[in-house]
């Protein structure tokens, strides 16, 4: 079966274990959630999956073939795309150019990159913003541009790093609908990393919970909702921002 897989991944920074023996898989057409308290290692795992960080042990496998040692742009060319926290667009460039440069970087001709960029903006629902300078957009639109940019070249997998951060409930609901469409219409495998646990429970087919670098729970939303271990992990951090999460989970 076609899948993107974290196979027993461990990462240590100067002796500190950021990830230990993490297993996770993303399959085309499905949305997998990755949640966990601050510092659980979520972004580190995304960095490993996309070639930004080499694992100390274990391997990233695409359809069984190891990707370890590939540079980020090579991983991207294999069809594994990602977004970054806060969008990280080219803020001085028009929206369309942000997508176009990605297409060109993937090896498309300029003409093909423009056509694909326009089609993608249309698909994401922001075609009228094509000529706006990216840095002038409100952040909800900025996130959509970042997602559109990641979808250039029709990747098989997309890793979304906190796409809903700072969004209101209606904004997050719109985003959830878009994420579902990415999986169903583009048959793309989605890994959704989010602090907004409500969004994850509602959007994902399967959820992996990380705490202190290790997987503490792994299963469908109902199982996560009912898990004592997960409740305890969130309770343990005692950060104010995570308290509403517990209510959502009840």
């Amino acid at each position: 079966m076609s899948q993107l897989e974290a196979d027993n991944i461990s990462v240590a920074f100067a002796g500190l274990k950021a990830l230990s023996e993490v297993r996770l898989s993303v399959t085309p057409g499905h949305v997998t959630g990755l949640i966990g308290p601050n510092g659980a290692g979520k972004t580190t795992l995304v960095n490993v999956l996309t070639g930004f960080q080499a694992p100390t042990e274990g391997a990233v496998k695409l359809d069984g073939e190891s990707l370890v040692g590939l540079a980020p742009h090579q991983v991207r060319r294999r069809g594994i795309a990602r977004t970054f926290q806060g969008g990280r667009l080219f803020r001085e460039l028009p929206v369309i150019d942000n997508l176009e440069v990605t297409g060109v970087g993937l090896g498309l001709s300029r003409r093909a990159a423009i056509a694909e960029a326009q089609a993608m903006l249309d698909w994401v629902g922001i075609a009228p913003l094509a000529d706006r300078i990216a840095g002038t957009l409100p952040y909800t639109d900025e996130r959509r541009v970042a997602i559109g940019r990641a979808l250039m070249g029709r990747p098989g997998y997309i890793l979304l790093d906190e796409p809903a951060a700072g969004m209101s409930a209606p904004e997050a609901a719109e985003l959830a609908a878009l994420i579902r469409r990415i999986a169903s219409e583009l048959n793309c495998g989605v890994l959704l990393i989010e602090h907004n646990v409500g969004l994850v429970l509602e959007t994902c087919d399967h959820i992996v919970v990380l705490d202190s670098g290790a997987v503490i729970e792994d299963g469908p939303p109902e199982q996560i909702r009912a898990s004592e271990t997960v409740r305890h992990a969130y309770m343990g951090t005692a950060a104010d921002s995570t308290l509403p999460v517990l209510e959502v989970m009840q």
Partner: protein
């Protein structure tokens, strides 16, 4: 009055072309290339190749203008790309200060190489002599060269702006200038973009050397220095990394120099540059980020 305007535009053209050459490279690799002035000098001396004699112009200098101009532009571009490959590529991850010092060193190497071959005595060259004929436009008399300098600069700026906005390479360059790491992650070919920026910058240095050579009728190993200094100041005033800012500030500096030359009392004219630099200090006091603030430094709204 018109005369002053044309003087300002033609001097401003030189500064703008120089500033653009510096800003292009700064944009993609945060390097202030102080060897730029020496690339200008080197290109002028290419007119004398392969002779090192003071008067003999046997090869390049005798070419018709439509061969001579591309030749000099190619010499500038070639030397500039070579300096990237041989020197600056090794400093890709070094701090901006280290790269800047490396560029000073490279500048000295080029200058003393010229000194060894051609000695420090300025050489008289007769480059495109037809251009020194006066022409009259709207009642102002000026050398044809001045008019051509202004027109050629406008054409070059226009061509460069189309190139940067409308071509694939330009797109990659704009992305790399704003966030080199991100551009690289997205598959933008870093080496090609950087070498392209060096080639463009070197070709601009070649253009300056043609203008300077035709204006002064001499080849002098020092000749890039003065333009380089003003061009560097223009890139700082323009907002380091901003191409539009560099061009704008180049023209402003040219205008300031010419206007001071005209309005200052005769006794103060020898100190013209002091007044220009004074104005520069004032501008930077009020807008330390430059006239058009540089990429990536804007506040997030």
């Amino acid at each position: 009055m018109l005369q002053v305007l044309f003087d300002a535009l033609s001097l401003g053209s030189l500064y703008a072309l120089g500033a653009l050459g510096i800003a292009l490279i700064f944009g993609v690799m945060r390097l202030v290339n102080f060897a730029h002035g020496d690339v200008i000098a080197f290109s002028v001396f290419a007119l004398l190749w392969p002779s090192t004699d003071a008067v003999a112009i046997v090869f390049a200098g005798q070419m018709p203008w439509f061969l001579l101009i591309p030749f000099i532009l190619a010499v500038g571009a070639g030397l500039s790309v070579l300096s990237e490959i041989v020197v600056f590529r090794r400093f890709r991850h070094a701090s901006p200060a280290t790269m800047m010092i490396a560029s000073f060193a490279l500048g000295f190497v080029i200058r003393y190489f010229l000194l060894m071959l051609f000695s420090s005595r300025p050489k008289s060259i007769s480059l495109l002599p037809a251009l020194s004929q006066p022409v009259e436009i709207l009642g102002a008399r000026m050398p044809l060269l001045q008019l051509i300098t202004i027109l050629a600069t406008i054409v070059m700026l226009f061509a460069l702006s189309v190139f940067v906005r409308k071509t694939r390479f330009g797109l990659e360059m704009r992305a790399a200038a704003e966030n080199f790491t991100m551009a690289r992650m997205l598959g933008v070919r870093a080496n090609r973009v950087i070498m392209g920026a060096f080639a463009l910058s070197g070709a601009l240095a070649g253009a300056i050397s043609i203008i300077l050579g035709a204006q002064t009728g001499t080849a002098d190993i020092q000749m890039g220095g003065a333009v380089m200094l003003m061009a560097f100041i223009a890139t700082v005033i323009g907002g380091l990394g901003s191409l539009e800012g560099a061009v704008l500030a180049g023209f402003l500096l040219g205008a300031a120099s010419v206007v001071m030359q005209t309005v200052l009392p005769p006794e103060a004219r020898p100190f013209r540059d002091a007044f220009v630099y004074g104005a520069v200090i004032l501008v930077l006091l009020f807008r330390p980020q430059g006239l058009i603030s540089a990429r990536g430094t804007k506040e997030r709204v």
